[in-house]
């Protein structure tokens, strides 16, 4: 389970990083979202990966740590708000600057249509 979990987090991070280095705002936002998924999963696993371990003392033999779950919840809420904000910002930038390049000017990576 650990290897699978680590693989998933790693793949998500790698894809997120790749997309964040792109020149257009949309892939960058998708990259940020993927990275935040990876981070949330990573945080989630910080208390150790257990099965059948409720985060309540007395419910199971070895209760799992409830704190990472609380942290993840906070991180998800904040990440969600930030993503919403950056989407609106990207739309605003598209309308103010006339294109969706992150630098606000048409790059050389694509010939103009």
């Amino acid at each position: 389970m650990e290897a699978l979990f680590a693989g998933v987090v790693g793949t998500l991070t790698a894809c997120g990083l790749f997309l964040m280095l792109r020149g257009r705002t949309f892939p960058v936002i998708v990259g940020l979202t993927l990275l935040s998924y990876a981070v949330n999963l990573f945080l989630f696993s910080m208390g150790g990966l257990n099965t059948h371990a409720a985060p309540v003392i007395g419910e199971s033999l070895s209760p799992s740590d409830p704190l990472p779950q609380a942290l993840v919840l906070t991180a998800i809420v904040i990440g969600f708000a930030m993503t919403a904000f950056v989407v609106i910002l990207a739309i605003r930038a598209r309308s103010e600057l006339g294109n969706d390049h992150v630098d606000g000017k048409q790059g050389d990576e694509e010939p103009p249509r």
């Binding site: 945080l43 208390g47 209760p63 906070t74 708000a81 930038a93 103010e96 606000g104």
Partner: protein, 506 residues
Amino acid sequence: MMAQHLPILPILLPMLAALVLLGLRLDDARQRLVSITATLLLVGISTLLLDQAGSDQILHYALGNWQAPFGIALTLDRLAALMVVLTAVLALGCVTFACAGEDAQGSHFHGLFQLQLMGLNGAFLTGDLFNLFVFFEILLLASYALLMHGGGKARVGAGLHYVVLNLIGSALFLIALGVLYGATGTLNMVDMGQRMAALDGDQAALATTGALLLVVVFSLKAAALPLYFWLPRTYAAAPAPVAALFAIMTKVGVYALLRVESLVFTDTPASAPIQTWLWVAGLATMALAMIGALGARDLRMLVAYLVLISVGALLAAVGMDQRASDAALLYYLLHSTLVAAALFLIAELIDRQRGQAGTRLVCGRRLNQQRLLGGLFMIAAIGMVGLPPLSGALGKMWLLQAADDEQGLWLWALLLLATLAALIALSRAGSVLFWASHQGKPGTQRAHPAQLVGVLWLLASLPLLTLFAGPVSGYAEATAAQLARTDATLDVPETAPLAADPGARP
């Protein structure tokens, strides 16, 4: 009774003010009244806090009376109190300046401003790493919106970079926290410090990784060398009162570095590499920012690079890590924040009176209030460069004195060179703005009294910091001594039920 709850007030007060400002649809005049009253109250409260912290007792405020390390604690020590006072003083100048009309260019300026203050105060007062993250997010979210206040191409373009970079920073912050929590099993700073010192083997290596990641995040906020490229454009594009408030945002990074270095990572394997990296990054930041300042073609850009020079000096001082350098750092931090903010405000005043030319360093029309603005600019420039008799000279001399022989070789050379570069750049900017601008008739724009009050409030700190250099440096030295003391920082209850149970955490 009241004194007991004092540490939470700098967070609650701006939050309530923000709720009132954002919730009720007040007209402009009332919004200003609420905002200025709240900021004035904040100055009063923070002064009380400073007094309380001066007794050398570290006050822990357990939220909801959940004891540390399980509950979330606020920690009031000398350093936190000093930063809260600085924030309040700076904010009062900025908000007064904004009341001259800049706040009405977009919606919700004052509400967002108070939210930002809440985030800043919370970041300074918290004793919990995850709460530090939460307060960072609050202040960042407010700063995103404030940066975009008034709109315009430059702001939106710079804002996009700023937001995306800080989102990546937040993701890294969470990863670092996750690693640290996984290795130590706590988020309370003092508790984590004690547990990190006891780790060995794999866990110690893991904790070191987390610590270094955390340093990367704080370096992004503080704008250390490889991570500073967002700063000049952002600060130059931001509305003046916001840019002035942002002068403390880099210092939040410096504060966080100082805090984790002295409280959490001291006596751990992570300590040595962190210090080396900060020292080198600080010096390199100074060197590059110096070139940027000389090459700047716009007054705001120039001030942004001057902010970077001071950040470089501060980071190098954090990297030196001696009691003397910590004390000098705190004094210089107070000075450099206030003077940089004043310069951003003065740049706005100059901009208003130069019409088309704005703050670009080209010949433009004559300023309407040439003598007044010229005088203000000169005082601020003397302070920023660090010429005697103002406080910049004292701060820089103290920093130079604090360096030992080997460090001194680098610090003396770079800090003095950077000072020279700042002197050249500011004299050139001043002569272009005030002397090479005689074409045409001056406009009719005059500085609003509120704007002048804001600028003078910030500038007054320079002579005051010089006159009262004795008490201020005494406080700074006591703060450094308190930071260096590692024993009496927190009485963590040893009989913590969960922590004592080895089965609770793998």
